[in-house]
């Protein structure tokens, strides 16, 4: 039994001569929100489609609930709710009518499931407006309502805030957070908007040109990107000794022969500078830095395309 709700092993998708997804290993833990971040065309949707079995896998494996989806669709699909690309509905029907079709086909047992799902996303029940007349935001909300209609354990959401206004984005974000925090749902969400993922995800996977560049918990990434004092000195080893012995500093990282980072920004830098100079260590520069997540993502992805 795997510890992950979704686990991919060397997942690869090749279209003709183009590799859309290259040997991706994703690990989505139960009850957590996993944010798949990448610029447009990075391969996020293709990964989600392969996880769901909507597109054939060129090579590699996907396990959902510790099972290969192929051949177990009837058992696994009812446990998943998903939006891939834009939500598709019948344009000649109202939102309620559309959801009633999907609820019945799924055999949703809960009474008033459609009404409750519409209430959650803020759409009116039994409204006469046809889906073809819906705005992009309304369509997206209806897609989310369809996802939660059967109370699935796992949600796979491909850019679910696309087309929503800022208030709508905040509402959906809070709603998704609530699903995970209060109801223990596992959520895999993709976005090209860094701030969205940063505000939502517990774990994050950064994908670029089909390659998963990093997979980490948000907590670890934040640690990596916290405030620090960048110290440039003539002798980093001697500086380390002085910091540890004289100032009892242990929370620091040596970067190279001349640079180190002090993560306690409350240190008395004047005293440190003085001690270093006294012991023949030249202090070339010392400054407070604060690398944001955005800086980090730009650094590892090359910087373009992430909003």
């Amino acid at each position: 039994m795997s510890d992950f709700v979704i686990e991919t092993k060397k997942l690869t998708k090749i279209y003709g001569e183009q590799t859309a997804v290259n040997s991706v290993d994703i690990h989505v833990k139960p009850g957590r929100i996993y944010g798949l971040l990448g610029r447009n065309g990075a391969g996020k949707t293709t990964i989600m489609k392969m996880i769901l079995g909507l597109t054939p896998i060129t090579s590699g494996e996907v396990d959902v609930f510790s099972q290969n989806i192929k051949g177990h669709e009837k058992r696994i699909y009812p446990r998943i709710g998903s939006i891939i690309e834009t939500p598709g509905f019948y344009p000649n029907l109202t939102g309620t009518e559309n959801l009633e079709i999907f609820a019945k086909l799924r055999g949703t047992p809960r009474p008033n499931a459609v009404k409750k799902a519409l209430e959650v996303v803020g759409l009116p029940y039994r409204d006469k407006k046809l889906f073809s007349k819906y705005s992009l935001g309304m369509k997206q909300r209806l897609g989310i309502a369809n996802v939660i209609l059967h109370d699935p354990e796992l949600l796979i959401l491909d850019e679910p805030t696309n087309g929503l206004d800022p208030i709508g984005i905040a509402e959906v974000r809070n709603f998704i957070k609530g699903l995970s925090a209060e109801r223990g749902k596992t959520i895999l969400i993709s976005s090209h908007i860094l701030s969205e993922i940063a505000l939502l995800a517990d774990d994050i996977g950064i994908i670029d040109h089909g390659v998963l560049l990093e997979e980490n918990s948000m907590e670890d990434l934040e640690k990596k990107n916290r405030k620090y004092i960048q110290l440039q000195v003539s002798d980093v080893h001697k500086t380390s000794l002085i910091l540890e012995q004289q100032f009892r500093v242990t929370d620091y990282a040596v970067q190279d022969e001349h640079n180190l980072r002090l993560y306690d920004t409350a240190l008395d830098m004047a005293a440190i500078n003085k001690a270093l100079v006294v012991q023949d260590v030249a202090v070339i520069s010392s400054q407070i830095c604060n690398d944001t997540l955005e800086d980090y993502f730009k650094q590892i992805t090359g910087g373009e395309g992430i909003a």
């Binding site: 909507l54 998943i80 939500p87 019948y90 000649n92 029907l93 999907f102 019945k104 086909l105 369809n146």
Partner: protein, 243 residues
Amino acid sequence: MKLLLWAERWKLRRSKILWIAGFATVMVALIVFAQGQFMFYGSRYIDKAGWFMTATQSLATFYVLPAVIALLGSYMICREEQEDTLKSLRLIPVDEMKLTLAKMVLTLVFSVLIYLLLFVITFLIEAVLHLEALPISLVLENLKIYFMDGAGVFFAISPIIALVSRMKKGYWLALVFAEIYSFAGLFASMSNTLKTVYPMTAVFNLSGYYHASVIQTLIGVIVLLTCVVLSLFILKGLNKTAK
């Protein structure tokens, strides 16, 4: 299957294609009614009891209704892909073969209903014009023929519905193909051999619209069954390529 049929019926709510079909049926009746105003040996065609019910069938079948029915059938299948609902259905999961079969069954029902609507229109007009001259046996015979025409036309055009759905080039193509296919039936009806083997005219042999021998009727059954098998074969390929 029952659930899928319910869903398919539900999906057609407010669908313009249903209105187009209804309009086409009424238009067929109106055109034949107008033709019936012509004089023949001192009396109008329309005044002869049973003429209207009989004459409407050939015009409807060779020119209009097969195209309309093919359009509806291929629309029901193609729309899932065009409106991007197929992926949502796959994730339920819905068996795509059963889904397609449900759509075909509904098209068959629709085909029969549209022919029955045409029967009702023609019968009502005949009844208004000369109720006393209409024998009940003639009315029942025509009811049977219309019913069989509806079912038979669906079987005859089912390969077109399947083919257009597989081509994925737009369901309007079904209208064009079915129009050519049904119109060709007019020429096939001029030869006794062709009339027996051409699917559109085989429908008339089977329904009793043409006076057909037992052999011709049996060949008609075989021809229409071949059409059904052919369409199932094409649809099976469609579901494989979709996966």
